[in-house]
């Protein structure tokens, strides 16, 4: 691996505003309002997750940022460049990995990457292209035709294509859909490195544990609006609690003091939410007093999936 090359051309000299700024973005398709006046800011250097159920409007928002669609109202900019008025600078600043698995069947992987460099007005940088291929584990596929690649490989070529012009902001729309576990980890290792070197990352995903481990801040969208926006830590602290899962043997009930606060799980297991970890001691004491033998015990951390489910449920459409 060639470690010496800086991976990305970071930021915009002398500009310390938001990497992505969206103010009052509206977009309708016919009668249907896909985005209802959405505001969002992503700061430079963030690893930001945009979460939401299918149809929430994530891809539509990304299309507006990338200039693939035009907003009906609102102002969107990347590193201070308006996506409409300063479209050349704005598009040079972003790399987008589209949600759809698109490719041009006429070309090989390397040809695809050289063409994409040219479209961005730069001479294909074979060192950088090799580095991308290496990091995305595509080196032995460099001269294969795009048609001959598996879905996961095509997805990684899309990531390489988005990075070929060394953008300051990388937007990934469900990049890990259809990519196996091992390659997902390689991908995240690489993206994380880019982020550490200063690249701003905006990510949408349905794998919430990915968002939880990678992202410093999270926005949750529903029906064209942002309904929650905070640091990952705050969201976890405010909406999810650690829990204790235990089993006292098949068919045996919990003592009365515990039963009201417990959720029954399959196979005779119960889950109890915890305010703090000291409560574990009281729960165990209650079981001992009732003469119950604990067969199984597990302490679970708060997780983003629970936060997500709760926030989605609590917010009316």
């Amino acid at each position: 691996m060639i470690e010496s090359i800086p991976l990305s051309r970071m930021g915009r000299p002398g500009f310390d505003g938001a990497a992505i700024s969206i103010k009052g973005a509206k977009k309708s398709f016919g009668q249907f309002e896909a985005l209802k006046g959405l505001d969002l800011e992503v700061q430079q250097g963030e690893f930001f997750a945009l979460l939401g159920p299918n149809g929430a409007g994530k891809t539509t928002l990304i299309s507006l940022l990338a200039g693939l669609a035009r907003p009906d109202a609102g102002a969107l900019s990347v590193l201070g460049f308006d996506v409409g008025r300063d479209y050349r600078q704005a598009r040079r600043a972003v790399g987008v990995v589209p949600q759809e698995l698109v490719f041009d069947p006429f070309f090989t992987v390397r040809e695809t990457l050289s063409l994409q460099s040219g479209y961005f007005g730069i001479r294909p940088d074979s060192k950088w292209i090799d580095e991308l291929l290496e990091n995305l584990q595509l080196r032995d596929k460099a001269d294969s035709n795009m048609r001959a690649l598996s879905g996961g490989m095509k997805r990684r070529v899309l990531v390489a294509q988005a990075l070929v012009h060394r953008p300051s902001v990388l937007i990934l729309d469900e990049p890990t859909a259809g990519v196996d576990v091992e390659l997902r980890q390689t991908l995240w290792k690489f993206i994380r490195r880019l982020n550490e070197e200063g690249m701003t990352i905006l990510l949408t995903t349905h794998y919430l544990e990915e968002a939880q481990t990678l992202c410093n801040r999270v926005a949750m969208m529903k029906a064209g609006q942002v309904i929650a926006l905070d640091t990952t830590q705050n969201l976890l602290a405010d909406h999810s609690r650690p829990s204790l899962t235990l089993s006292v043997g098949q068919g045996k009930p919990l003592p009365d003091v515990l039963i009201q606060r417990a959720t029954s799980l399959p196979a005779g297991r119960f889950r109890l939410g915890l305010e703090n970890f000291a409560e574990v001691e009281q729960i165990l004491a209650a079981c001992r007093t009732a003469g119950l033998e604990i067969k199984e015990l597990e302490v679970g951390q708060a997780d983003l999936e629970e936060v997500f489910v709760r926030i989605m449920k609590d917010t009316p459409r």
Partner: protein, 251 residues
Amino acid sequence: MRGFTTLFGKEVLRFWKVSFQTLLAPLVSTLLYMLVFAQVLDHHAEVYPGVSYREFLIPGLAMMAMLQNSFSNTSSSLIQSKLTGNIVFILLPPLSPFEIFAAYVLAAMVRGFAVGGCVWLASLIFFPHLPAHPLELVIFALLGNALSAVLGLLAGIWSEKFDQLAAFQNFIIVPLTFLAGVFYSIHSLPPLWRDISRFNPFLYMIDGFRHGFFGVSDIPPLESFLIVGGCAFALSCLSLSLLSRGWRLRS
């Protein structure tokens, strides 16, 4: 500039990689037309003094082949990219509407010229004479190719399915080329049809091109030049404005 040259190169490479279909097939079918007509209609009266019917056919057929191929290049490239979704590779980079326009149109013209050039070379077998006005010939070939490449671009932008593109081609382009005097001089038509033909821009391309070939034509070449040039200019402005607005490309 590099954005434009890359896209232009890619468009040329696209048809070159399948040149069997995009260059050889149209060449063969045009030569078959020539061969068949040359045999069957050899005794047809001279169209112009000193120009036999089969000679008359050559520039018309060459122009028709060029027009169909340049149309086909822009329109099929665009519709394929739209349907497969890889049009995003062109929409995401900072390419200007003019760069996109110029790259698609010029690449289509290269294909038109390649087919037309080969047809002309092969026709030397039947008609071993050099063109009367080579410069005029080239100007009309350029304008005609440009006009039909731009029409192809418009058709590709407009169509959302293959069916729609096929309809555009079969109900607009093919009739206009066939009724543009490829196979006959408009002077041989009844007056009403002659007047109607006057509204067909393809007529002027073919007639002007033929003037470059033989030095005789139905319409004064300057008139043809102005009409074809005017149409090409107007349609170019239209497609540039559609590209700038992102019509049917950036929803």
